[in-house]
Amino acid sequence: MKFSKLIIRNLFRNKLRAALTVLLMAAIFFFVATLLSILENFTLFSDAGRGQNRLAVQSAISLANVLPIAHEGKIRAIPGIVDVCEMQWFGAYYKEPKNFFANFAVDHKHMPAVFDDYQTSPADFAAFANDRQGAIVGPELMKRFNWHVGDRITLKSTIFPFNPELTIRAVYKHPIDTSSLMFHMDYFQQAMGNQGWVGMFWVKVKNANDMNAIGKRIDDMFRNSTDPTETFTEKEFQLNFLSMMGDIKLLFHSISLCAIFMVILLAAITMSMSARERVTEIAVLKAIGFSRGLVLTLMLIEFTTLTLIGGIVGVVAGRLVYNVVNMTRVTQGFLVNFTLYTQPMITCIIAAFAVGVVAGGWPAIRSASMSVVDGLRRVV
């Protein structure tokens, strides 16, 4: 493009200002891409069970409420169900509260059928199944606490009045969930006095097409009972689980929009200054025949190039940082296998372009629309 030299020279005419603008853009889009990637990470995590035909059955009141174990038999009787597995969120940490991670009590007898995407060798699983105080652990968690199979550990619950003493019997493999710990439901129930309650049921359905119908049938079955249920697909459940911490998605999107709004304002100030400094030059360009449209186009290209560079620097730097830093460890398992994902990166680059157009639009239009005579008369 024959105007590229003019655009590039104008872009970097004030090197310090250009560098600071790029840095500002980079920092903001690093931040926004991180927020969006955290959401993406959650979504990926919620997609962990995709194709597994699993339904989550919880109390209709809330996930914090429990269901009678007696529901399990009734659910199991519904045609089209492969198996049902009890599960209880345990909410414990290891040694210190900062060592918090996902841990559950599960019914080991039904776990292989319902959670067949969690892979372990038959021998290891048998070792876990045969030890009432056995635990099966994700590989990232093993690495984080430098655990080994056979180690005895004690978890400290933040919810229940007992601290299970466990022996690590197996390490599972899973494409996404690499930082959870599961121990025996029997051990949990005994410690809690066998009160006949459980947090939720996981239901494996034979045919994916039947999932909605079966979910509705389960809920209908208990609708008029003292313990009504609410059944979700696995993805819905994971997202609901996350929403217990507040509407994270809304929160993150709001923060991202606020950040982008601020960056638009800052970029608009920078671009207005840049345009104002060049009023006379723009008038000269128009005098020698540059049309209003051409001036507008050149200025918009210049402004969007600046914000695009910032956006690209931010997301590429972020990708590199998160590829080097083990975020699973840094966030103590809150973010598993975290990186800047492609979709948030693309979103940020598009947003960076949009910031250039929105922030630079008004200064560019104003400059391009100014009459040549007024521009030449202006003393900047």
Binding site: R13, I288, R292, V372
Partner: protein
Amino acid sequence: MESWFASENEWPAEAGPHTENEWPAEAGPHTENEWPAEAGPHTENECRGRLQPARTENDMETLVQIDNVRKIYKRDEFEVPVLNGISVEVARGDFLALMGPSGSGKTTLLNLIAGIDRPTSGRILVDGKEISRFSETALASWRARHVGFIFQLYNLIPVLNAFENVELPLLLTKLSKKQRREHVIAALNVVSLGDRMFHYPRQLSGGQEQRVAIARAIVTDPTLLVADEPTGDLDARNAEEILNLLARLNDEFEKTIVMVTHDPKAAQHAARTVHLEKGLLVEMGGETVAARA
């Protein structure tokens, strides 16, 4: 009309130094001392000596026709009349000086002739076209083809070097990169700045900057050159050089020039002088060529 550009095909290959180091000896005058006698008037005295007799309006076709033009500026609630029914003609190949005190409307008249402003009433015809009726886009396109601007403060783009500044108007044409380069070099040679083409405005003196601005104005071989106080920011020596250059463009290349000035010495370089006062034409100056000669 003579042009400093040979046709594209006639352009000599050796005329195009691509870098400072590549500058060939045969590419033309490179420094003041190298200027050949046959290249035309170069100093003030030479220029005066070579001046042709004044062209009269009878033997020249009218290029610019200003017909009862009024211009009123609106400043908030006030209306400020600047031109009050001016009629004047500029012949093709003429060198007209617009003189008058500050606020007399001479720059406004120049702006109207150049198509960067519109009259409140009246007609402005340039080369037979009523430019006051053009749309803004058409007017921009017309300016690109027909008008070369020379400003008092040079108004070069500071981030572009001399070559790139001169090349700017050519970016609006369909010329190839090679053709643009050839035109730029030719224009810079005309203003004797072939050796400064890679210098940025901040690396040039005021006189050199103005010469680059002149090169930018002539690079498209425009129909009309308009100069607004072209020597207003220069010392006497540089001012004289610039005026000689303009006179040479008029004499040698038959460029039509309209120049605003309030310096009588500058006006002496023009073929004709028009005096304005309070937006009215008070005197259609006689030929000043005699004075120049």
